[in-house]
Structure formats: C-alpha cells, structure tokens
Symmetry: C2
Subunit: 190 residues, 2 copies
C-alpha cells in the first residue's frame, strides 16, 4: 500500500483517466466502478474516498475525455503549419475511428452526455465552442459573418461521419462515409 497524499492525487487522476477511456469504449453505463478501480490498479472499496457517487466520477471522467480533445485542438491551434485540411483528415481518419478509447468525446460521448447532468452538458458545450473557434481560426480567409455557421456545420459533418463510420458493419461503406465527408469539407473550405 502506498498512502501518501501525493499518491492519492495520482490514484484519483488515474481512476478518472481510466474511466474517461472506458466510458468512451463501452459507454457510461457499460462498465462498473469495481471494474474501473481494478483497471486503475486499485480495489473497489476505496472508491468513495475519491468520489461522492458514481455520478461524480461520470462528471469528472467526461470532463477529462473532453479535455483530451481540447488538448489535441490546442496543439493544432499552436502549430503554425496546421491547416483545416489536416484537422479534417485527422478527425476523419481510420485511426480516430478505431481508437475509440482516446477519441474525441464530442462524437463518442454525445449520446451519454445528452442524458447526463447539467455540469457534464455544460462542459460539452464549452468543448463544442472550442472546436468551432479552432475551425474558424483555420478558415480565417472566409468572411467573418460566414465563419461560425460554416464551422458549426463542418463540425457536425465530422461528428456524424465518425459516428456512422463506427456503427456500420460494412468496412467499405465505413471508409466511404469518412472519405465522402472529408472530400466534401475540403472542397467546401477552399
């Protein structure tokens, strides 16, 4: 047993990250606290010394999952070589489709968030705003009054395409969805 306060903070952090990953993989209702604690290398008994309830873990974990995407977006925004085309191709890539545990929560957790607390939905809204700001920034050549609407529509296209690409059984159709969305967005923004 390691019992220092620093270790507790690390454990808390690890539980949240494990939950952020597993919730994206299996859905918020798809995994138990006991299994999450085991995946974090702990036993389930200590759970309530970290969280007041399951719902509080859900809130922290969804916020973490959204923050993962936020970090990715910040990295793109900070890179002067980044283009809208690179963002589109990355979001609509096979890697992003398949690495669900580390994927963008705006797509992956949308259904779960719609059924969650105000706190969670508020964090989701903030992340949508960040994506729209990033897309607008990468489409700076467009007239100001058109940027936001086009950015929202483009984000919707990416979210819907990844969502459907994961659900269909036909690999060819799945790739066609991603490619059609990417082609359409890139032609629209040029």
């Amino acid at each position: 047993m390691g019992h220092s306060r620093a270790a507790k903070a690390e454990n808390h952090d690890r539980i949240v990250q494990v939950a952020a990953d597993r919730f994206r993989e299996r859905g918020v209702d798809g995994i138990s606290m006991a299994d999450l604690m085991k995946d974090a290398g702990l036993t389930h008994g200590g759970f309530y010394k970290h969280f007041a309830s399951r719902e509080m873990l859900v809130a922290e974990a969804v916020e973490r999952a959204l923050a993962d995407g936020s970090a990715a977006a910040d990295a793109i925004a900070a890179n002067p070589k980044a283009t809208l085309a690179s963002l589109i191709d990355g979001y609509l890539s096979l890697v992003h489709r398949d690495q669900v545990a580390h994927s963008c929560a705006v797509t992956t957790l949308a259904s779960d968030v719609a059924r969650s607390s105000e706190r969670v939905r508020s964090a989701y809204s903030a992340q949508v705003d960040r994506y729209v700001a990033l897309i607008s920034k990468l489409a700076a050549w467009l007239p100001d009054r058109k940027q936001r609407g086009l950015a929202l529509a483009a984000l919707a296209t990416m979210v819907g395409a990844v969502s459907m690409a994961r659900a269909v059984s036909d690999e060819k159709l799945s790739r066609e969805i991603l490619k059609s969305a990417a082609d359409e967005l890139k032609s629209r923004f040029s």
Copy 2:
C-alpha cells in the same frame, strides 16, 4: 390473462416497440427487461418465452427503431411534393431533436450499435444505404457521380448536428447548430 396466439404476437410486437422507444431514450444499457415488460403491460417472467436473451431483444428492438425511420423515409420518397429541403428541415427540427423516443435511430443509436452484434450493425448499414438512396433521389439534378458522395456527407451533417444539438446545455447553441447545418446543406444542394 389473455393467452391466444394472436395476443402473444401482439404482446411480442408491443414489447419490441416499447424497447425500441426506451432504448432510444435511455440507451440500450439504460433500462432493464423488467421495466420494459412493465411498460408493455406485462410481468418480467414471460420475457424468455418471447426472446432467447436480452441480446435478442436488443437486436429486434434496434431493427424496429431503424424500421421506424425507414417508414418515415419511404413516406417522403412516395410523396411527389417532397423536396430535399423538407427532409433537411424535418431532420434538423426541434421536434426531431426533442422526441428522442421516436427519433431516427441512425443518429440516436449510433454509439450503441457500434458496440452491438453483427446483425444489428448490418441492419444499421442497410438503413444508412436507404437514407443515401433517398437523398440522392431528392438531388437528382446533380451529376450521377457526385450524388452518392454528397448524400453521404449530407447525412453525416444531419446526424452530427442532431447528436450535438441534444448534448449541449445551451439552448441557443443547440438551435444554432441545427440552423447552421440546415442552412449549409440547403445552400449546398441548390
């Protein structure tokens, strides 16, 4: 107790429809068989005379939810006055956003389907194909080689917009998402 074979078929049908609605509302993992049976006006004990397992009900219910959307699509396709704009406005309406229990399963159940059986994912693929065919038909003036790609991208935009519009906490942002997507799609297809 009503025990005729006709009554059993009606009960089976009602259980499936209740599940199709509740799964869209709460997610496939969000409601128990006992609660579903109660909502169908039955007790839970009879469940396994209708379905081999919970998974089999999930399969039938998701297929039913998809078929609901299929019927709506067929109605549009059969109406000679239907336009692509009316489809877009209907899909991106506040009613469709809010009536989750009767909404299009291609959006609402995408995450659950991605984690489901091959049978379910195959039904989902078929429904995507039907939507793409409908959109293509309503955009018949486009060159043939462009129709399918644009239809897939348009479907992705609608699916992503409704998905996000349900998850965000800010009503103004939610409406903005739907309107931006609708405006963009209608201008793209004219």
